[in-house]
């Protein structure tokens, strides 16, 4: 009898526990579902419908286009205003003194952005690796002597990779020439002198420091194929040593193009089609640094994969790490290094990611590497 009375008690306790667990989990699940329903409803109700890709003729796009053109026209009219900043590519003149104060942004008056001339000189000295001689003054022979690229044949190897070790200091060509070296700040007496001490060309971070010649970038192609009046020719002779690199520029239909390449390009000459597809897909689906490294390491031997560094940037949005770029920079560093190493441009085979800094990459990139090639 005692046994028969004890059993229901234990059973009751377990039932209560199970019941409570069910109730709690149900609550959690329900609140999670309700949250997502509310968020979805809010996004649905508040956002305007977007046109399909390439639908730049939609009324919304046309309206925005008109605003942009009107804006450009209005600022073109005020072209002679002193504090305007002109962009060479598209004739927008953006007035620094009309910056809106949006959240997270600094609205700095134009005048306050100008450093005192001595500070400017110091800043110039500090960032002298970014500043170069006037491009107009350089001669082509110095370009050729700097470049480690041989243009004599496909898959050409670096002739001076040892001269471009990572631990090497930036080449002297990245410093100001003697004639342009800023004077000692104590020697700067007047505004004229200060103005004369400005570098002739400030190279935007990461930009190439010399005008790259067509021959330099052609990688042994002597057919002169190019966009400026030269003949187009098919690339009918891809070999397993070649790379196909796609320079992706956002909002140019690049995602469609990227996917088309993944799906349609027959990478049979490199061994197997899966090499390309798996590599990129794994990068897109999973923000997995190790997997990416493995992917790159495996494929670098074959020089097979399409590389698209802007994919990495998309990860930062997907993983909601909006402004933490450290991880991103690691990925990009590895990408650059691999790209340079396997195309035998500048890095030695034993380069490891741990020894590379972003500045090194800039230096090496500036020295020799083209952005896109086949």
């Amino acid at each position: 009898m005692a046994r028969t009375r004890k059993k229901p008690k234990g059973f009751q306790l377990r039932s209560w526990a199970v019941g409570i667990a069910i109730v709690v989990s149900s609550c959690v699940f329900l609140s999670y579902a309700v949250y997502h329903i509310i968020m979805a409803a809010e996004a649905e109700s508040t956002s305007s419908p977007l046109p399909q890709l390439g639908d730049y003729t939609s009324p919304e796009a046309k309206a925005a286009h008109a605003v942009a053109l009107e804006y450009a026209a209005s600022i073109r009219r005020s072209k002679n205003q002193p504090q305007a900043v002109i962009n060479a590519d598209y004739p927008f003149i953006l007035h620094e003194d009309t910056q809106p104060s949006l959240p997270g942004q600094r609205a700095v008056p134009t005048e306050s952005k100008r450093l005192p001339s001595t500070s400017r000189t110091e800043a110039t000295q500090l960032s002298s690796h970014r500043i170069i001689d006037n491009v107009e003054q350089k001669d082509s022979s110095s370009v050729n002597s700097r470049s480690p690229i041989k243009t004599s044949g496909r898959g050409s190897e670096s002739t001076s990779s040892s001269a471009l070790k990572l631990d090497k200091q930036p080449p002297s060509t990245f410093n100001l020439s003697n004639s342009m070296q800023p004077k000692n700040p104590n020697q700067i007496n007047n505004e004229e002198d200060r103005r004369n001490n400005k570098p002739d060309v400030y190279v935007l971070p990461g930009a190439t420091t010399h005008e790259v010649s067509g021959q330099e970038l052609n990688f042994g192609r002597d057919d002169g194929r190019g966009p400026f009046g030269t003949k187009w020719r098919p690339v009918s002779d891809l070999s397993r040593d070649d790379w196909v690199v796609y320079l992706r520029i956002q909002k140019t239909g690049s995602q469609t193009f990227w996917q088309t390449l993944q799906q349609e390009f027959d990478a049979g000459i490199w061994g197997r089609k899966q090499t390309v597809r798996n590599c990129i897909y794994s990068m897109l689906d999973v923000f997995d640094f190790k997997a990416l490294l493995q992917c790159v390491a495996l494929n670098s031997a074959r020089k097979v994969y399409f590389v698209d560094s802007s994919v990495f940037r998309q990860f930062t949005i997907k993983s909601r790490k909006f402004w933490n770029l450290d991880r991103l920079i690691d990925l990009e560093n590895y990408f650059y290094v691999e790209r340079m190493r396997t195309s035998a441009l500048s890095f030695s085979a034993d380069t490891s990611i741990g020894t590379i800094t972003r500045r090194d990459l800039h230096v090496h990139f500036q020295e020799s590497l083209p952005v896109c090639f086949t």
Partner: protein, 163 residues
């Protein structure tokens, strides 16, 4: 190889992408959170307020957004940075420096186009795909169509034939 687009259309598309496009894809908190600059990203700000200040005109004037508003194509082509950066603060307002820097970047970008075996044009996407196919006859011999990227909200994409 690379793909280009008329600059104003590209900029308009970028604006739409970083505002409503991101909202549709990742939620209201991502309004204005571009991949390389901050337009109106602020998790605590209500979406209505973000939409109020996140206008196209403000985007064009916002200093951080310059990398997306103008010269993006040139920056990608003429620089090793995937997005590029504006001038450092000490050179803000320095018309000469900016003009020369931009001119230099543009020159390099043009030079680099020489090395591209294929340059597509967004406004002529179908034609570009045809040229692509003929540019790589070996790798794309079986290519007969292409599919546009599915729309983030509707999930629908278009399929284009290459004739």
């Amino acid at each position: 190889m690379t793909f280009l687009r008329e600059p104003v259309s590209r900029a308009v598309s970028e604006f739409r992408h970083i505002t409503e496009g991101l909202v549709a894809q990742f939620g209201p908190h991502t309004f204005g959170a571009a991949w390389d600059y901050n337009f109106t990203f602020n998790p605590s700000m209500p979406i209505k307020e973000k939409r109020r200040i996140g206008t196209f005109a403000n985007w064009m004037k916002c200093s951080q957004c310059h990398v997306g508003v103008s010269n993006r194509l040139t920056r990608f082509l003429g620089s090793s940075e995937t997005t590029g950066k504006s001038l450092p603060e000490e050179l803000y307002g320095d018309l000469d420096a900016l003009e020369k820097a931009n001119a230099n970047m543009l020159r390099v970008a043009k030079s680099r186009l020489w090395s591209c075996a294929f340059i597509g044009i967004m406004e002529r996407y179908e034609d570009s795909m045809l040229v692509l196919k003929h540019t790589f006859p070996q790798g794309l011999k079986r290519m007969i169509s292409y599919a546009t990227n599915p729309h983030p909200k509707t999930g629908k994409g278009k399929r284009g034939a290459i004739s």
